[in-house]
Amino acid sequence: MHNQTVAQLARGLREKQFSSVEVTRHLLERIAGLDAQYNSFITTCEDAALASARAADDRLAAGDAGPLTGIPLAHKDIFCTSGVRTSCGSRMLDNFVPPYDATVVERLRDAGTVTLGKTNMDEFAMGSSNENSYYGAVKNPWDTNCVPGGSSGGSAAAVAAGLVPAASGTDTGGSIRQPAAFCGITGLKPTYGRISRLGMVAFASSLDQAGPMARTAEDCALLLEAMAGHDPRDSTSVNRPVPDYCADLDKPLEGLRIGLPREYFGEGLQAATGDCIQAALKELENQGASLVEVSLPNSHLTIPTYYIIAPAEASTNLSRYDGVRYGYRCDNPADLDDLYTRTREEGFGDEVKRRILVGTYALSAGYYDAYYRKAQQARRLIRDDFLACFEQVDVIAGPTTPGPAFGLGEKSDDPVAMYLEDVYTLAVNLAGLPGMSVPAGLVEGKPVGLQLIGRHFEEARLLNTAHRFQQATDWHTRAPSQGGNA
């Protein structure tokens, strides 16, 4: 059961091959037995999960079921869950039990899904390796000496290890796509504003976006349909109808124009990963797509632009953690200033503190124009490069990451080296575009991902391209041997 996709499980539930309670029990047992080696969950909710599964079975029996009724999944621990601790991977929120649900959680619950637990993540979603968690690093199920990627590393590892068929994630600079690539699963970051950010702990508000992580594009389509939609409680949520994302999954790729940015295939891309991407592109070409070389001339501005905008917004967003209304408070504060400064010293980890400091610097008097304003100008240049490309092509493709998963500890002492890992994913967030990572091969036994980037709100075209690719290839069906086949 644990190797089945969401679509397969949904069919099995409707055809009474098994019940939601049976699937839920099976996966909870796998988590209890196997997750010690991956550390992909921070919290599991056995009792609540079994209660939701029983309710789902009643709906299935009554013939009142939707496509996701009874499907178990996990939420990244960045999404507020009423009555269930939401830590965001931080000591600061280790004791935080939200009094409300995130819109994503509410919508997926209303669709009948069963929440098994909350997945591990880099603290406040800041990281590319899942090593910045107060709850310890997550290990990659394909090689437990390697990182699973980040920041949605727990969600990616849990899906890859067969602990859960799908999980929610968030992506501010690649945090869905990069761990999806490293763990051999399929992940989608939708257009900025497509999914409500309400109840999703804020990192960089002009970049943050939630999305689905699963084994197939079809599953991502099913989940996105439930997650997407306007939320009047999030002023950046876009008021635009949600299409049927499954309707065009099978559409042939004839006539599809795929742009290959020359900047994504140059120096920096590891040769074996590049070979996998070329083979994947060849498959798309065989199906009738045409490959067109394009250019994103301002690509070299992406990393510095992102690492000004994201920390600047983070320093503002994280000012709310002051030890007064919720979350961690230091012991025996001498005075109010001591309460603030020591709570934040003790409650935040090193990377979070670094980003708050960089952001505070970039926004401080005398530096605003040179940093934040300059970065916002560069951000426009980066977005406009994409818009110009999309006049020539329908989809942009390239690698998700420069190479497969790197070793635990390999880059954790060098923040700038870690930042360079995100070179192909950051621009998509700056431009607000939808992006996907699709399993596209193995290098030394570790997965690599093909990144697909679409026009604003063209998630359906990405899902269609990825689905057709998955109909012709089997990379997405490969599972790691450790635990995954137990």
Binding site: P98, P99, T236, V324, D338, E345, I356, R379, R380
Partner: protein, 102 residues
């Protein structure tokens, strides 16, 4: 627009000033290490200064969306008890902090 030749580095005094603004205490023996790493990050982001952004309008939202407004009406119910139940210290409906006025 300020001078584009932004300082390439940052010294420990500036780090302590920034940390004060950010309300984060940095232990004395850690200032040097933090300064070193922040200097590395700033050196990387400073490469942006070479970009020509003359006459480029800053972009705050990738969809060029503007702030949506709603009618100024009460929409939320009062949930003070639920919110205060998760606070570190409360008394009579108030959040407690160390004494501010002696």
């Amino acid at each position: 627009m300020s001078d584009t030749s932004t300082k390439p580095s940052i010294d420990p005094d500036e780090i302590e000033k920034i940390a004060t603004l950010a309300r984060i205490r940095i232990a004395g023996d850690q200032v040097a290490g933090v300064t070193h790493r922040i200097a590395d990050i700033l050196a990387m982001v400073d490469t942006l200064q070479a970009a020509d952004t003359t006459d480029v309008e800053p972009m705050a939202n990738p969809l060029d969306a503007v702030q949506t407004l709603r009618a100024d009406e009460v929409t939320e119910t009062n949930r003070r008890e639920a919110f205060q139940a998760i606070a570190p210290a409360v008394e009579n409906g108030l959040y407690l902090v160390p004494k501010v006025i002696e």
